[in-house]
């Protein structure tokens, strides 16, 4: 997807993401420390200023997202990052930003909850990320990386999409992706030129009316118009859907998993194939927009679904909606920072194969 790349080097997910942000033309970053994403803030405080980005440690995530609001409203390519509890604090700001139609990138290197939870990786913020998260009818554009390479690449995609649609975009990763080291080929600097932002508050010249960034539309007729506009935008955003298909051609049992869970699921698919079970994997890359169509059309080919997540079963609801009762959809999840092993997932695949008497060949 992304232009020219450098030879691969070994990097931590959080650092690859932070470096990619600078290469993507980041102009303003505001953040607050929280494990397992503090390396993003640390990396940017070290390297940001000398490469032309404003980088500021805020007094809270509440302040951080509102600084992003101000900077984005002033036309800057702005970003924040945090982990689950901090992302909860940002929900007010994100609701305001979607209504005020401000682009920005929010990174959630998520951890297990609810509450203060654990610092171990989890995917239990799926609902919050994809269904709105704060008050009002809105969505974030949500990208789910499953490798360090994608942690870097998706920064470009997220900025591009958020600016194209004037809507905040989120990269929903998890603690493992943030902390692990992998080979990554970083995208080249300067490949994402800043776009025109005639709506930004940069100071009003005599030649134009004043620009106003607001989410207040007190007359219900006007508020409905704004909502209709947002809904139209979310409809258009559906065309940005992205997913990866692995061994889906002849699959009888189709796994659906995103992010880190997709890597485990992929391994389980390999193990199942070794045992002669025709398993495949569909990996949603955009969680919003959700790849409902491909799931729906695959449901006519496969016998059964298995959704694998690191939570109590969140994306599985969207899969069931897409399958619309046409096929059984089973779920395998671990919670609280526990990661399912490929063998555990394989067991589920085997028991599904057993129950449908899919003969081993």
């Amino acid at each position: 997807m992304n232009q020219k790349k450098e030879p691969p080097r070994l990097m931590k997910g959080n650092e690859a993401l932070a470096e990619a942000a600078l290469r993507a033309g980041l102009q303003a970053y505001f953040g607050y420390p929280i494990t397992p994403q503090s390396e993003i803030l640390e990396y940017l405080t070290e390297h940001g200023a000398k490469r032309g980005a404003v980088v500021l440690q805020a007094e809270s995530e509440l302040a951080a997202i509102n600084m992003v609001y101000g900077a984005a409203g002033a036309g800057a390519r702005a970003m924040t990052s945090s982990s689950s509890p901090g992302i909860s604090l940002m929900q007010e700001g994100l609701s305001y930003m979607t209504s005020a139609q401000l682009p920005c990138l929010v990174v959630n290197v998520s951890r297990g909850g609810p509450g203060l939870g654990t610092i171990q990786p989890a995917q239990s913020d799926y609902f919050q990320a994809t269904k709105g998260g704060g008050h009002g009818d809105y969505h974030l554009i949500v990208l789910a990386p499953s490798s360090v390479q994608e942690m870097a690449d998706f920064v470009f995609d997220a900025f591009r999409l958020s600016e194209k649609y004037r809507n905040p975009a989120m990269i929903l990763a998890d603690g493992a992706l943030g902390q692990m080291m992998e080979k990554v080929s970083l995208p080249a600097e300067g490949s994402l030129p800043p776009g025109d932002k005639p709506w930004a508050t940069v100071g009003k010249p005599a030649s134009r009316e004043r620009n106003i960034i607001t989410s207040l539309f007190i007359e219900p007729e006007r508020m409905e118009e704004v909502n209709l506009h947002l809904q139209k935008k979310y409809h258009e955003i559906q065309q940005e859907v992205r997913y990866e298909e692995i061994e889906t051609n002849d699959a009888e049992i189709l796994l659906v998993a995103f992010g880190l869970a997709a890597r485990i699921a992929q391994k389980a698919v390999e193990l199942a194939r070794e045992k002669g079970i025709k398993a495949g994997l569909l990996r949603p890359i955009t969680l919003y927009p959700f790849p409902s169509q491909i799931i729906s059309s695959l449901s006519r080919k496969v016998i059964s679904f298995l959704v694998v997540e690191m939570n109590a079963g969140q994306m599985v609801e969207d899969v069931r909606l897409a399958v619309a009762g046409g096929r059984p959809v089973a779920f395998k999840g671990r919670m609280g920072g526990m990661i399912p092993s490929p063998e555990e997932v394989l067991e589920e695949i085997e028991s599904i194969a057993e129950s449908y008497r899919i003969p081993a060949v």
Binding site: Q27, A28, F30, V54, L56, A58, E59, S60, L62, A63, A64, N66, M67, V68, Y69, G70, A71, A72, G73, A74, G75, A76, A78, E92, G93, Y96, A100, T201, V202, G203, K204, P205, A206, R210, N211, I212, I213, T214, S215, L216
Partner: protein, 254 residues
């Protein structure tokens, strides 16, 4: 000064600044908000900085400040104006940035943002309208509500044992090394109006020096929330508010 003559032959001695729009104020009769809007925009016009000025509106009665002030503006969430202003100012360190906030916005829900923005010494102007009440939501207790003062949520008067003390946040701000100019003014008399205008002018003139936050509190009224006529409200303010919130400079540039 150039003498401007109107069509009916009379000399024009006063007019609305071009930095205010033609939208009529929605404020209640006698309310201080409109006066402070006008003063601030007069200063922006007189300094010729309209093109370089970005304002942040709060949530409170002045939520629609952007309907009146003819400059680029952002509307912040309740209490977050100082953080939004920080975001703008960091992107445009050489432009003029101000926030305009009420006591509930600045000294209750936004206390954290207010204190930290001041403590970082952000080079912005904060205009703080202290009317000791939540005007917009119908007259509930504010952090600055006086002891014994009746509001819709302190129907028997604010009791210290239950609701604590009035918060003199401007005094706190003045303690911070990040604060450059801190003053408390009013707009209930022509003399007070002149002084407030001078304070706003100084505050904006100081901004390019990049020496820290300039904080202008205006002790104001809320005739509707206080359930008084404008005349009664101003008399009550002088008698009861000024002893607790004395007018004058709290910190001036050394």
């Amino acid at each position: 000064m150039e003498v401007v003559t109107t069509t009916n032959g009379m000399e024009l001695v006063y007019q609305k600044p071009s930095t205010l729009t033609d939208t009529p104020f929605h404020y209640c009769p006698g309310c201080g908000h409109g006066v402070v809007h006008k003063l601030l925009m007069e200063v922006v016009e007189e300094m010729g900085i309209q093109e370089q000025t970005i304002g942040i509106a709060p949530v409170g009665c002045s939520v629609f400040a952007y309907n009146y002030m003819n400059v680029d503006m952002q509307e912040a969430a309740h209490g977050r104006a100082a953080a939004v202003a920080t975001g703008v100012k960091r992107v445009f360190p050489d432009k003029y940035v101000f926030s305009y906030q009420g006591d509930g916005d600045l000294a209750a829900i936004g206390t954290g943002e207010t204190i930290h923005t001041a403590n970082r010494g952000e080079n912005i102007l904060v205009v703080f309208i202290n009317n000791a009440i939540y005007g917009m939501t119908g007259g509930q207790m504010a952090p600055t509500t006086l002891l014994g003062m009746v509001t819709s949520t302190t129907p028997f008067g604010r009791q210290q044992a239950v609701m604590g003390f009035p918060l003199k946040i401007t005094d706190l701000i003045a303690q911070l090394p990040g604060a450059y100019y801190v003053t408390r003014q009013a707009v209930h008399t022509t003399n007070a109006v002149r002084k407030t205008k001078k304070a706003l002018r100084l505050a904006l003139e100081y901004q390019p020096r990049k020496k820290g936050i300039c904080f202008v509190e205006v002790v104001s009224n809320c005739p509707s929330g206080w359930k008084m006529t404008p005349v009664e409200a101003n008399a009550w303010m002088e008698k009861n508010m000024f002893p607790m919130y004395p007018l004058g400079d709290l910190k001036v540039p050394q």
